[in-house]
Amino acid sequence: MDVRLQISMVFHLDKCIGCHTCSIACKNVWTDRKGAEYMWWNNVETKPGTGYPTAWEDQNKYMGGWEQKNGRPDLKIGGRVLRVLNVFHNPYMPRIDDYYEPWTYKYEDLFNAPEGADQPTARPVSMITGKHIDIKAGPNWDDDLGGSPVYAANDPNLESLTAQQREELFDIERLVFFYLPRICNHCLNAACVAACPSGAIYKRGEDGIVLINQEKCRGWRMCVTACPYKKTFYNWSTGKSEKCILCFPRLETGQAPACFHSCVGRIRYLGALLYDADQMLDALNVSNDKLVEAQREMILDPFDEKVQEGALRNGIDEKAIEAAQRSPVYRYVKEWNLALPLHTEFRTLPMLFYVPPLLPVMAKSEEGLYDSSGKELFAPIDKARLPMEYMAKLFAAGNVEMVRYALRKQYAIRLFKRMETVGDIDQATVRRALEQVGASEQEAEAIYRLTSLPTMDERYVIPPSHREEAMQMLNDDMWSEKGEAGFGFRDAPVRGA
């Protein structure tokens, strides 16, 4: 047993209101720079939809993630030799137009235009070339376009549906969509790390955050292709790749990452998970429908004494173990089996988990009313407007049962709370619903509380980091960085000659 600690995340999709506050918080802090204008380390996309960059889930196009080859995972873009040869031209690299060309407006024209018969306008100009452009795409170009034949219809996940199911999705009266906020998953089997020819990308041992060493990145841009979630980005100005850093400077000082902190829907949870790194290969060596379970299996019980011993032996601090015990992520993922990883079939072992949304699922009811009478238990879920197969394609590599369980459980808890607060459902029905998902009333109450009423401290349980130890290791004068451009990085990040 090789116990390691991973800062992990849960996004509760039922609570996301699609406000994009998270994206803006991130943009303001990290990517409001030349070459990074088009980057959204955090983005919120509408599903069904094509997402950002366009159709990122289509790995026949982008060749991201891993594949089982002879019983071992290997990168889908091919072996090492091929990758080194492909540095001269990477055949599967996404282009700027797969995202969008960043632009601004010539606001000064509004004031400086010569007097004339027409109102002056502020024309859009490209932030790359400075020339006028016609805007063809932008961030969230498909926002809320759930039934759009241009966007939703090209969602790669629709292939999991029958023709009839697909048709229903685009029925104007029955349009349906939900939001999918995405950041880097800080995967255990990160494809970007594996693909980097320079070895510039690494996982931090202490907390599992995946980072790109900007001093070592040489712009071979293989990570951009290899990351199946398209969460590594190429800065076209500096010639370096960049990605979400999970706001580690904030985490190290006990603050939640900017996107978490600002989340209006309070959908985000962050906490430590202990996992067994020795089980990694086994967890990957299973068929698609077993992937979610195998990954759950890797996650260790922080209350188990053997696990604690192993953790201490690996240099994981006692306070960190304590934090792992209070981790909301552990609850949602392992104890309650409610949170599922996004597209596990990419086999990177992502450590961001999603509670699948009940709402658009339930939306299919007579005369626009949600049926929560409980006459036919779970009927609203099984007659879902958004088919379960679609959810399963996103959150369980096609294993419908995993998603069904998570939705039924959420539904059971709704019935339970409705019984308590409205009182129009009888106890026997509720008990039956809870029994079917194997949940006690206490568990239902706990889920309800952590879902609906959690405080900031319950949502973000950040293990204390020990920068003082790290600082000593560096043999550095702690104060030498004061007033400089950042830790270990003393010059402004400007493009080389």
Binding site: R95, G199, I201, W236, G239, Q308, M473, A497
Partner: protein, 259 residues
Amino acid sequence: MLDQLLFVIFPYAAALLAIVVTTQRFIRDGFSYSSLSSQFLESNELFYGSVAWHIGILGAIAGHIIGLLFPSTVLWFNGVPVRLYILEGTGLMFGLLALVGLVSLIVRRATVARIRAVTSVMDIVVLLLLLIQVGLGVYTAVFYRWGSSWYAISAVPYLRSLITFQPDVQMIAPLPVVVKLHILNAWAILTVFGFSRLVHMLVAPVHYLWRPYQLVVWNWNRKRIRKTAPHRPSPIASEIVAQTAEHGQRTTEKPAFTR
């Protein structure tokens, strides 16, 4: 005297400059070492330009290095006419490939607006110097036949004399002007080397071929902690044990933290 200046002092100065600048830049400003890829902004034309250019130039440079290392072997190899033709043909092919690729890269840089936006003055200097270099090289290959052989007995002794710090320009004195310009331009490229994007070739990712896929970096000395940790009495151990006992029933009770 002029020969001494151009073919002895100039190359030494250029080499010294290249060594000092590249190491200094690597240590002080590793950030500036990058391929500065522009594929993200334009990919289709780059394919023809970059692939042809790099295969061509790497092949051509390899040829020069092989000749430099094993001149007598090359001469022996060229003793049989067929083999000479093959070697010359291969060399010319690499040269032409590089030339075509380079012209394509230059055209792309000049015509694609997005690429112009990421073009520095040094990029232009480098591309022009390389164009001169490859152009002269291909011209030589076409009009001064059997270069693979005469290179071994003229330029190679000269290069070796430079490397062994016993500079001797006699062997290249009789070479045609075009070839002399080719040599001179090489030293010009070496002069700008450290100041340009050309440094990217020094960090070519060969190491990737054998490194393990996953890479984990600890900020502290994990080994040291590993060794001492089991013997360290744990102040919260008893607390953890207490919580573990509670754990079995944790879900049957409201977890403390939700209150």
